[in-house]
């Protein structure tokens, strides 16, 4: 998918009015690469002269310069401040990326994660010096187990996809422990790409299941594919069409009757937290994205954290380390022995994403049992409000893919753009000029030109109204035939559409000195 074409490379007519000597435009400041600001020998950290010592590097002293630029602290601070100003963020506006749960990131979480008793603690300290850290992890596990209704939780996975891997590994280990060599995983076509990728890494063949006309997994097709070689079903619930799998109890029963496990992708747990426990849906393993439901920041792409809640049958296979309570307090089980003899082993260095654990627990304690239930309700209410505002009444212009109420996100397709010459991508880019981050586009794959919108519970009604008015207004403009305007969008951003085709065909993945010389010559 690329939105760029050669025909777009002419500047918009109005650009002469915004042309400046520097290339800057008011607060939009151009910024060179770090490597282009080198004052050789300069340094932004004051370090003492090393005491005299004889090298014991075994003759392996570095002989060649590294090539790092020298900058002072003010230059570095300005550089990264300017870069930050080229980013959209949840702090600046609604970020309605479906399936990503871009909610407000509370700053209390940042403060607690930086307490020296959490941030300045080494993972290999003696157990007697880390009782508070283990208590925090133990408490987080208790909250997650209570919210999911499941008896065990593996906390080490570093992200959602890592959690999926953990869950699928425990499933395969449990099957093999009973001498079962099933080799097939059923994955709905609407699933996140990580689901089939994870199952493949786990050594499984992937068998896709179609959706039914109501946007849910086709139960009949599922039953037809279930058999003695099916290891598990990987289902997302609520699914990526923003719908609750209303036949989920029958799905679970069928999967279990076939001797398979039921894995659930919990990326969309925000819709049901505090209202529905996955254990009550017959789920055997479910990963939770702490960076979605539990508000730890996305950080421009990570770090995340993906704990996996496990049914009793899978719990013995959970990855190391385990935390158990003994007479001496909390202890770390780091070896595959005793209670943990059946573990799949270690999935990550040390003990998991502690910094994310502190943030998530901080968030959960702030909301409490009552607040978390309200989170789910407001998230679903906001999504349905947008659904109605965008597809019904006088102004509603979008085409909802599966009519009826939705959960925390709502799926539209590009029927409303039919014959306009405007694509989903163009529509999203026009939204950028209006000051909004676009919705998720072209996912899920089960509808044409998908637009998946998830507002989350941390948007106000005024924010939703402004977003809905803008989307509806753009739809009117598209239908009125302003194709050129859409194709040229975005015009007001630090960069306009970028040439992704050339980027992939001739990859330039790092700076080299000669590149800057060419840039300067331009």
């Amino acid at each position: 998918m690329t939105g760029w074409s050669q025909a777009l490379s002419t500047r918009p007519a109005a650009s002469s009015e915004t042309e400046t000597l520097t290339g800057n435009r008011g607060l939009l400041l151009e910024e060179k690469l770090l490597f282009e600001q080198d004052s050789p020998g300069h340094c932004g950290v004051d370090l003492p002269e090393p005491p005299a010592h004889e090298s014991r590097l075994g003759g392996l002293e570095r002989r060649e310069p590294i090539g790092l630029p020298g900058l002072s602290e003010p230059q570095v601070v300005r550089h990264f401040t300017r870069l930050s100003q080229k980013n959209y963020a949840i702090d600046s506006g609604i970020y309605p990326l479906g399936s990503c749960t871009m909610k407000h990131n509370p700053r209390l979480n940042e403060k607690t994660a930086r307490l020296p008793g959490f941030a300045d603690v080494h993972p290999l300290q003696p157990i007697s010096t880390i009782q508070g850290a283990l208590e925090l992890i133990h408490t987080l596990a208790h909250w997650l187990k209570t919210l999911t209704g499941m008896p065990a939780v593996a906390l080490t996975p570093a992200a959602g996809a890592h959690g999926e891997l953990c869950g699928m590994m425990t499933i395969r280990a449990a099957l093999e422990a009973r001498g079962d060599t099933r080799r097939r995983i059923l994955v709905p076509e609407s699933a996140h790409g990580t689901n089939p990728a994870t199952a493949a890494i786990c050594g499984y063949a992937i068998d896709p299941i179609p959706n039914n006309a109501r946007g849910r997994v086709d139960l009949k097709a599922l039953k037809a594919k279930l058999g003695t070689d099916v290891a598990a079903l990987m289902l997302t619930n609520p699914n990526t069409c923003g719908l609750f799998e209303d036949e989920i109890l029958e799905v679970a029963a069928s999967v279990h009757a076939a001797g398979a496990f039921f894995y659930c992708d919990g990326a969309n747990f925000n819709a049901i937290v505090g209202r529905v426990r996955p254990a009550d849906l017959g789920i055997d393993a479910l990963h939770l994205n702490l960076h979605k439901t539990f508000s730890t920041p996305h950080g421009g792409g990570g770090p995340g954290s993906g704990p996996v809640a496990l049914a009793a049958e899978l719990a013995p296979f959970a990855p190391l380390p385990w935390i158990v309570r003994s007479g001496r307090g909390l202890e770390l089980v780091e070896r595959a022995e005793g209670l943990a003899a059946q573990t799949i082993g270690r999935l990550k260095g040390f003990h998991g994403q502690m910094g994310m654990f502190v943030r998530a627990l901080s968030y959960m304690m702030s909301h409490g049992a009552d607040g978390l239930r309200q989170v789910a309700e407001d998230a679903v209410l906001n999504a349905n409000y947008l659904r109605v505002r965008l597809s019904q009444g006088t102004g509603g212009a979008l085409s909802q893919s599966y009519p009826g109420t939705c959960m925390h996100e709502v799926l539209f397709d590009d029927r409303f753009l039919k014959d306009t010459g405007v694509t989903t991508l163009d529509f999203a880019k026009a939204l950028i000029d209006e000051g909004f981050h676009p919705m998720t586009m072209y996912f899920p794959l089960v509808v044409h030109g998908a637009l998946l919108i998830e507002p989350t519970e941390t948007e106000s009604k005024a924010s939703l109204d402004q977003f809905a008015d803008t989307v509806n207004g753009l739809a009117v403009r598209a239908k009125a035939g302003d194709v050129a305007g859409f194709h040229a969008a975005p015009r007001l951003t630090p960069r306009r559409r970028l040439d992704e085709t050339t980027a992939a065909r001739k990859p330039v993945l790092r700076w080299r000195r000669e590149m800057s010389q060419q840039e300067a010559a331009k």
Binding site: P50, L97, G117, V276, A369, I432, E457, L498, A503, A504
Partner: protein, 446 residues
């Protein structure tokens, strides 16, 4: 609740707009048997004061590294992080943005990733680097998987000097991917016999190794290449590359590392940042995200995520990895810290670490009964003690010194390592800390 903008009045208005009477109507698709009427059995909402108090009490039960003489390494290192780093990564535009899939409004993250990739390539002496992985251990497992894809061979040989967590993660992944992992026993201070044959996809070594020893792997690289295998070099202490010959100059094909030591706090083990670099010819087999340079519709330089046809959201089950995240903010912290250090700063920082470790090694080795194992080291080394190292660690902790980590914590079955203590010193260690540590160790061994 302070995080929820909707008021009861808004909620009522919105329900009316939707045309339903109650919020429960929006959960009608949940099977009745699975609906929960009441609240889950967890505490109710608390204010900022209460939450901060409760978590501060938990934190206070830990011994913070900065509050005691501290000498633990073993794959995570306590370095000083300049104040500007944490300030900058907390800017909301970095902290609260998503993966830069919309490049026009994510140029900040993308340019920073491009700078990060360049820094990692320069440090490791490699041609290209990705936008980071979860941590060093998972980067190691990904390196093994990548070597398998490139060579289409089924066996990975792991040095006994590889961090035991890295070995264990490789073994976990291999159980499921069907790769054979041949892990050698730890042999501190000895030269290993790493067998390479026509089925070997890669040999994985670490520099400095888990016991602190430095080696030139150039001859091994040549041997790997003769046999059609790849050499993977792991680095767990990234600051070492400010002083030590980089793996790229030794002929490594893949270099993966733990980047925590630059820009990131200890955080009890995570989140950290996995670094991953390779030869340019193998870039399409690399896991993880890549930022690339391009131009926009006006011909101006800009950045995008690129080569995404390797990735799961396009390739699904045929992707090079299931990874859907990098360690974005930790990578940013790394980039900012390294930008502040620059060539001169990193070089000096590495010298300070080495000098502190030399000083500590001399002082501790002079304690009766203690023997330094290493011929060479950077900022961490191994000592043989006259008593089990685990006992020494516990006794030192009681005296308020976090004096290292016992090898037996990782290798309880290797009785020959029971007396082995790993000790690290960074620029944060003072002369007084070293005095106290030396005196306390002498007392413990008396």
């Amino acid at each position: 609740m302070r995080y929820l903008p909707l008021t009861p009045v808004h909620r009522a208005e919105m329900l009316a707009s939707i045309g339903i009477a109650s919020i429960d109507d929006l959960f009608a698709d949940v099977p009745p048997a699975a609906r929960r009427a009441g609240l889950v059995d967890l505490p109710l909402a608390q204010g900022e004061i209460e939450v901060e108090r409760a978590l501060s009490r938990m934190a206070a039960k830990n011994v913070a590294a900065g509050s005691v003489p501290f000498f633990i390494g073993g794959g995570a290192y306590r370095h000083h992080v300049p104040a500007a780093v944490d300030h900058l990564i907390q800017r909301g535009e970095f902290l609260t943005s998503y993966t830069p899939y919309q490049p026009e409004i994510s140029q900040g993250t993308l340019q920073a990733l491009f700078e990060f990739q360049t820094q990692v390539a320069l440090l490791t002496g490699m041609e290209v680097a990705n936008a980071s992985l979860y941590d060093g251990a998972t980067a190691c497992a990904e390196a093994v998987a990548m070597a398998h894809r490139i060579t289409r061979r089924g066996k990975a040989v792991l040095s006994g000097g590889l961090h035991p967590h890295y070995r264990e993660v490789c073994e976990t992944y291999a159980q499921f991917s069907g790769l054979e992992v041949q892990a050698l026993d730890p042999a501190p201070g000895q030269i290993e016999n790493l067998n390479i044959d026509s089925d070997t996809a890669c040999v994985v070594v670490q520099n400095p190794d888990f016991f602190g020893e430095l080696r030139d792997w150039s001859a091994l690289a040549a041997r790997c290449h003769q046999q059609g295998a790849l050499l993977v070099v792991m680095v767990t202490e990234i600051v070492s590359l400010g002083a030590v010959k980089p793996p790229g100059e030794m002929g490594a094909d893949i270099v993966a590392a733990e980047g925590q030591g630059i820009g990131n706090a200890l955080n009890f083990g995570g989140p950290y940042v996995g670094l991953f670099a390779a030869r340019e010819q193998h870039v399409r087999q690399m896991p993880g995200r890549l930022a690339g340079q391009t131009t926009d519709a006006d011909g101006r330089r800009g950045w995008v995520l690129t080569l995404s046809t390797r990735e799961q959201h396009i390739r699904r089950e045929k992707a090079t990895s299931n990874i859907c995240t990098n360690s974005g903010l930790c990578a940013l912290a790394f980039t900012i810290h390294l930008a502040l250090l620059g060539e001169a700063g990193l070089t000096r920082l590495a010298q300070l670490n080495h000098a502190a470790a030399c000083n500590l090694a001399d002082r501790l080795a002079a304690v009766p009964g203690v023997r330094l194992v290493n011929d060479s080291f950077f900022n961490e080394f191994a000592l043989r003690l006259p008593i089990p190292a685990a006992d020494a660690v516990a006794a030192l902790a009681e005296k308020g010194v976090l004096g290292g980590v016992a090898a037996s914590r990782f290798y309880p079955e290797h009785h020959d390592l029971a007396d082995l203590l790993l000790v690290a010193a960074t620029e944060t260690v003072t002369e007084e800390d070293i005095d106290i540590c030396t005196a306390m160790l002498a007392e413990v061994l008396r």
